[in-house]
């Protein structure tokens, strides 16, 4: 991180309980869901701490990041209100420290039924017979919609009628016998070059 040798804590690779509590606050500020209780945020923080154990690089970045977050906060990061705390995180959003927290949070915070229920996702459904008899089509604020293919008078026009074949970007119609490709210049390439000049 930014300020190495000045801080003796740099050699500290064990995360303290205080660091865990700062981390929980970081996650809540970065991923604010007023309806989420503390549980999902604590679970996510613990996942991040576990993953940091497996990587020296992340452990070092995370330890030092959490220790020094207070310097940008001008005190204890946990004492900042949401707005000020968000500003601090915006300043460090490109750091490895924050990137590690963000990536791991995105992967884990939303991958648990403790938040699915709050968000309105119902989880595994096959064992309950799917939704075929449990509301797969219960939306009632719009009219019923046609499910069959259109069979009215209009035809799907596959090539717009105002386009003559191969007039896109100045080409001219190529018969099969004078086809060329951009990696195999042929007669038409020469024509195009002449036009450009």
């Amino acid at each position: 991180m930014a300020f190495p040798a000045k801080y003796p804590q740099l050699n500290e690779t064990e995360l303290t309980g205080e660091a865990r509590s700062v981390l929980i606050r970081v996650i809540r500020v970065a991923f604010p869901h007023p309806s989420f209780p503390d549980g999902p945020y604590e679970r996510t923080a613990d996942t991040i701490l576990r993953e940091a154990e497996n990587s020296t690089w992340f452990r070092v970045a995370l330890t030092q990041g959490l220790l020094t977050l207070g310097h940008l906060a001008g005190g204890d990061f946990r004492d900042l209100n949401d707005e000020d705390a968000t500003k601090v995180l915006r300043r460090i959003e490109t750091t490895e420290f924050f990137g590690f927290i963000r990536r791991t949070t995105v992967l884990n915070l939303y991958d648990n039924e403790d938040v699915w229920e709050i968000l309105g996702f119902e989880g595994p459904s096959f064992d309950k017979g799917g939704y075929v008899n449990r509301g797969f089509n219960d939306l009632d604020w719009l009219p019923e919609a046609r499910i069959e293919s259109y069979d009215g008078p209009e035809q799907l026009i596959e090539i717009a009628t105002n386009v003559s074949v191969a007039t896109v970007r100045g080409g001219e119609s190529a018969s099969a016998s004078e086809r060329d490709t951009s990696n195999q210049p042929g007669k038409r390439d020469a024509t195009m070059t002449a036009v450009k000049k």
Binding site: F126, I147, I157, E158, T181, S182, N183, M192
Partner: protein
């Protein structure tokens, strides 16, 4: 199941997905024994789990890959260029099931669109008329809804929003299909129970895959030697330049050699060129079947993007089939829109776990959590359209990174063509208009996911100097080597590729059987 001796010169198919699985069934049904080498394990429908990340880790091709280029994938998911499956049945076990056909002019993209700077357009050496009978066979095999007497899928919640929005902005050509998912019992498989888990594998077997149809039927012939967890390392050739064997690592990591009389590669559009490049030899110094220099080039992934729109009322898009709605109105070629080629809009739903990871990669804060907070009131769709082949969009071997077997990993380089960007922007705008017409209060433009449609890296061409294989998928340079997957696509068209891969594989199987009978191979 049969056992073919390693010294017997066999018909070898590499891969068991849409192309390889179909080819295996069609050849065994004609009495021809085949060896199928599948890198993935033999997962069954009952093994699948209704959980996004758990299923991803169970099914996805997670062998390391690298990326380069200006596509966002190289920043957001640098080691996951493609989201495809490593298991028996290949990516048909995870696909959403949409089965539109290509249009006639999409087989003649160069002639129809003209010359476009930076694009390596070429006409296919076949026409829609030639492929049409095989489209029929593929649709019947797969049970595509809306055609051949198959019932349409019912409207789910996500479709109701989608179809009402379509109607209100003047679209006509919308429906709940065609999809290769049973709306009623068909072909011995039940109707969908609308469980909402498609990308996680269909436990109910209502969605077509080679796992539920072609592989078991090929096994029933007694002529299939299916070898899961066998990763092919190289195709070797004899002094005359004919493929004579395949070297592969078995599940214990031992190198094996299977003698070959014919090799068909169907390993999807990243692994197929990787294997051809790994098979370089003094006779084929740039890679097997690569005298054109086109192996690995013209990599296409379709121009995609999603829009997730928020409403004041509940939608519950997760209930029901993940994809069960198609709008074809924009699939036309109309350069007045500012781009060549067309695109479809198709319903799509993700759970909160995937929406968090893919909805707006790299984002955080209030803007990000708004997307998740609105989950229950969100409707979603996917834009899928033709992207232009470019020579520099390319799969190469990255010799500085190795996989667990010590093999060089594939690098996937991709830059959008300006045509791709113009099409995507048009799709985003139309999708937002569609949702606004039914009252959306906000929408998220989601960038392309890791590629699910991978095409073009061993393309078909009339002339050997323009591509890798001929109109039958037979390598121009190696008479007993075939490519049987989406790699052979000369251009990508707007349609989802699986139906066309299956139709081409059925057509190829007739050719191979005929050629073997008449001594043409």
């Amino acid at each position: 199941m049969t056992n073919i001796e390693h010294d017997d010169a066999a018909i070898i198919i590499i891969g068991s997905g849409a192309g390889g699985g179909t080819l295996a069934y069609e050849l065994t049904a004609r009495g021809l024994p085949v060896v199928v080498l599948e890198a993935g394990s033999y997962l069954r429908n009952e093994d699948y789990v209704n959980d996004e990340w758990e299923a991803f880790n169970q099914m996805a091709w997670l062998d390391p890959r690298t990326t380069s280029g200006s596509w966002r994938i190289a920043r957001d998911f640098p080691n996951l260029p493609a989201w495809i499956v490593k298991a028996v049945g290949g990516t048909t076990t995870h696909w959403s099931g949409a089965t539109p056909r290509f249009k006639a002019h999409e087989f003649a993209a160069r002639s129809t669109y003209g010359r476009i700077d930076g694009a390596n357009l070429l006409d296919w050496p076949i026409t829609l008329a030639e492929l049409a009978p095989f489209y029929d066979k593929a649709e019947v095999a797969m049970g595509s809804t809306h055609v051949h007497g198959r019932k349409p899928l019912p409207a789910n919640n996500n479709y109701k929003v989608f179809a009402n929005g379509a109607e209100r902005i003047g679209y006509k050509f919308y429906a709940t299909g065609p999809y290769a998912t049973n709306a009623e019992e068909y072909d011995g498989r039940p109707a969908s129970v609308q469980d909402g888990f498609n990308f996680q594998g269909d436990k109910n077997k209502s969605k077509w895959s080679t796992l539920v149809r072609e592989i078991p039927r090929a096994e029933a012939t007694g002529l299939l030697d299916l070898r899961p967890e066998c990763h092919v390392v190289q195709i070797t050739h004899d002094a005359s330049g004919r493929a004579d064997a395949v070297l592969y690592l078995d599940k214990d990591g031992n190198l094996q050699r299977q003698s070959a009389k014919l090799v068909a590669v169907a390993a999807n559009s990243i692994e197929t060129p990787r294997l051809l490049l790994q098979s370089a030899s003094p006779m084929f110094p740039d890679g097997l079947a690569n005298s054109s220099g086109q192996v690995g080039r013209n990599y296409m992934r379709h121009t995609t993007g999603s829009v997730y729109a928020r409403f004041n009322d509940p939608v519950r898009m997760h209930r029901g089939e993940t994809m069960a709605g198609v709008i074809a109105d924009e699939s036309k070629h109309d350069p007045d829109r500012g781009f060549a080629g067309g695109y479809y809009l198709e319903t799509l739903s993700l759970g909160p776990a995937f929406l968090a990871s893919f909805g707006d990669p790299g984002a955080w804060g209030q803007g990000f959590t708004t997307i998740l907070e609105a989950y229950a009131n969100t409707a979603g769709l996917w834009i899928v359209g033709e992207d232009l082949p470019q020579e520099s969009n390319r799969v190469t071997l990255n010799t500085t990174v190795s996989d667990k077997n010590g093999l060089p990993v594939p690098n996937v380089h991709f830059d959008d063509h300006i045509n791709d960007i113009a099409m995507r922007d048009h799709g985003y705008t139309q999708a937002e208009l569609l949702y606004e017409a039914v009252g959306s209060v906000g929408a998220q433009r989601t960038p392309p996911y890791p590629s699910t449609h991978n095409m073009g890296t061993s393309r078909m061409s009339e002339r050997p100097e323009d591509g890798v294989v001929d109109k039958w998928g037979r390598a121009h340079d190696v008479p007993n080597l075939f490519i049987s997957d989406g790699s052979v696509f000369t251009t990508g068209a707007a349609a989802n590729p699986t139906l066309t891969i299956v139709a081409l594989a059925i057509r190829q199987s007739e050719y191979i059987a005929d050629q073997l009978k008449t001594g043409g191979i």
